[in-house]
Symmetry: C2
Subunit: 289 residues, 2 copies
C-alpha cells in the first residue's frame, strides 16, 4: 500500500494502471474510518483492479457552527484499516493541496439538497459536491463507493455524476450497523455511554416506521408522529431536526405511503447530530405480514 | 474523420488512444465555424496526437431573449472545415443527448462572471461552465483550446479547470481578424453590409485605447470615454453594453492604468451584439513611443 500526499504524484502512480485499462475503485472518506468504510473498500476490492481511498476532512462541507475542528482525526489507525482491506493507494492531501487561494468555482444542485439535511446544513451539499468533483478529477476512477447511511449525499452525488457526465459508476453500499442496530458513523465517537444507549432510538424509530407501513398505515403524518414519539420516549431531551417519510427518488415529502419511500431521521443526542434512514415499499407482502 | 452522435460511441472510439497514452486535443464549438475555429484546430493538431471537435449549440448559455433559435447552423460546411483541418473525431450530439430531463446540477463561479458580459447575460457563464464541464467529462481531453476573442469565457474556463482539478490544459489562442481588423465571430453573419462597416468601430476603439495608454494616459475614465466616443462616431446608433479598462487577471475595473490590463467592448450594432478585446500593459516603451 502506498500513501500519496500530492495529486500529481497520485496521478503519476495511477497512469500505468489506466494505460493497462484497469478499473479503478475509489472510496472518498474523511478518515475516522470504521467497519462501514471497510465494507466500501471490500466492495471496491471485489469489483476493481485497483483501489484508491482518500482521507480528507473537507472544510467546505462544514457549517460555521459545526464540528470541523473537533472532527476525529485518526490517521495511523485509518491507514492500518486500509492496509487490512488491501487498499492499493491512499491519498492524504497535504494541507493547502486541495483548495488553492482564490478558488471560487462550486458545483450546485437545486432539487435534492432542498430536502432533509439541506435546510439544516446550508452549503453542506455544495461543499460535498465540489470536493467530490475535485476528487473525481484527481483520481479519475471507474467506480466510486458511498454508504447508504448518507442516503441524501449518495443520491446527490449520483445525480451530479449523471448530470455532469462524470465517467464514474456510483455504487451505494448498505449501511453497516452495530449488533444492537446503531448505524456506524465517525460521529458515534462523540457519544457518552448514556448517549450511546439513547442513540438506539434512531434505529428503533425506523423499525417502528417500517412496521406501521407494513401494518397498512398510509398517512405520512401518522408514521412521522410515531417515529418522533418513540425518539422522545427513548432519548429524552433529544432534538429532532426531522423524522420524515419522503419519496426515495426525489426526497420530496409524501402525504400517503406509496411507491419506494425513504424513512429518514436527523436527531441531536446531546451535542452530536446523528442521521439514519431506511428504504421501504408498501408491498402487498408487507400488508399481510 | 469520424462523426459521432453519441457520447458512448465517442468514448469507445477514444479508448484505444487513451490506452496508448496519446494526447487528446479538444476544441468545443457551437458550429458556424470560421477561421478563428480553424486556428484552434490547427493549434490542437500541432500539439496533440488526436483532435476532437464538438459542435453543439448549447441552449443553457443563451438568455431567454437571446439568439438561440437564430444562431447559425451550418453543419455541412462545419464538417468540411474540420476535414480540411485534419480533425480526427467530430462529436455532434444528438438532440436530447446532452441534457437529460430533470438535470439540475450546474457549475458556478462567483468572481469573474460578475464583470463585463456577466451582468448583461445572466446565467450565461453558468451555462458555459456547465456544458464545458460535461464535455470535458465526455471527451476527457489532455488539452482544450479556446479563443482569446471570448477572453472572459476563457478566463472563467481556466479558473474552473484549476478550481475543480480537471486534468485538462487550457490553451488560449489569439483572436483571428479579417484583413480590416474585425474580429471573427459566428455572429458577424447577422450583420448587414452597412452594419459590417460600422462594426469596425470596435477594433478602432481598441486601437485608440491602446494608443492613449501608450501616450501616457493613466485615467481609465478617459480611456473609456475615448473608446465610447469613437464607437458613437463610427457606428451611430450603436448601443454600448460596456467599454471598459479592467485588470487582465481579475477582470475588475481599474481606475488608473497599471499592470496587465484588458480593454474590453460589448456593442450592439443593430440587433447583433459583438464583443472584442485586447490586452495592454503601460510599459516604459509604450510611454516613449
Amino acid at each position: 500500500m502506498r500513501v500519496w500526499r500530492s495529486a500529481a504524484a497520485l496521478r503519476r502512480a495511477l497512469a500505468p494502471a489506466r494505460r493497462r485499462g484497469w478499473s479503478i475503485g475509489f472510496v472518498p472518506t474523511m478518515g475516522a474510518l470504521h467497519a462501514g468504510h471497510a465494507s466500501l473498500m471490500r466492495r471496491a476490492r471485489k469489483s476493481c483492479n485497483l483501489v484508491v481511498v482518500s482521507i480528507f476532512v473537507n472544510p467546505t462541507q462544514f457549517g460555521p457552527r459545526e464540528d470541523f475542528s473537533e472532527y476525529p482525526r485518526t490517521l495511523a489507525r485509518d491507514l492500518a484499516l486500509c492496509r487490512r482491506e488491501k487498499v492499493d493507494f491512499v491519498y492524504v492531501p497535504r494541507a493547502g493541496e486541495v483548495y488553492r487561494p482564490g478558488a471560487d468555482t462550486v458545483v450546485v444542485q437545486t432539487r435534492l439538497p432542498r430536502h432533509l439535511c439541506g435546510p439544516y446544513r446550508p452549503g453542506h451539499f455544495r461543499g460535498v459536491m465540489t470536493v467530490v468533483a475535485k476528487l473525481f478529477n484527481r483520481v479519475q476512477p471507474t467506480a466510486a463507493f458511498f454508504g447508504a447511511k448518507d442516503y441524501q449525499q449518495a443520491a446527490i452525488i449520483q445525480r451530479m455524476a449523471r448530470d455532469l457526465d462524470f465517467p464514474v459508476r456510483i455504487v451505494v453500499c448498505p449501511t453497516v450497523r452495530e449488533k444492537d442496530g446503531l448505524a456506524l458513523s465517525s460521529r458515534n465517537a462523540y457519544l457518552t455511554p448514556e448517549e450511546r444507549r439513547r442513540a438506539l432510538a434512531l434505529v428503533h424509530a425506523l423499525r417502528l416506521g417500517r412496521r406501521l407501513i407494513a401494518l397498512g398505515e398510509k398517512r405520512a403524518v401518522r408514521i412521522e408522529a410515531g417515529m418522533r414519539r418513540l425518539i422522545w420516549s427513548e432519548a429524552p431531551g433529544a432534538s429532532i431536526d426531522y423524522a420524515s417519510v419522503v419519496d426515495a427518488g426525489t426526497l420530496e415529502p409524501v402525504r400517503r405511503a406509496r411507491g419506494k419511500m425513504l424513512l429518514a431521521l436527523a436527531v441531536r443526542i446531546g451535542k452530536t447530530r446523528l442521521i439514519d434512514n431506511c428504504v421501504v415499499s408498501p408491498s402487498r407482502k408487507n400488508l399481510s405480514s
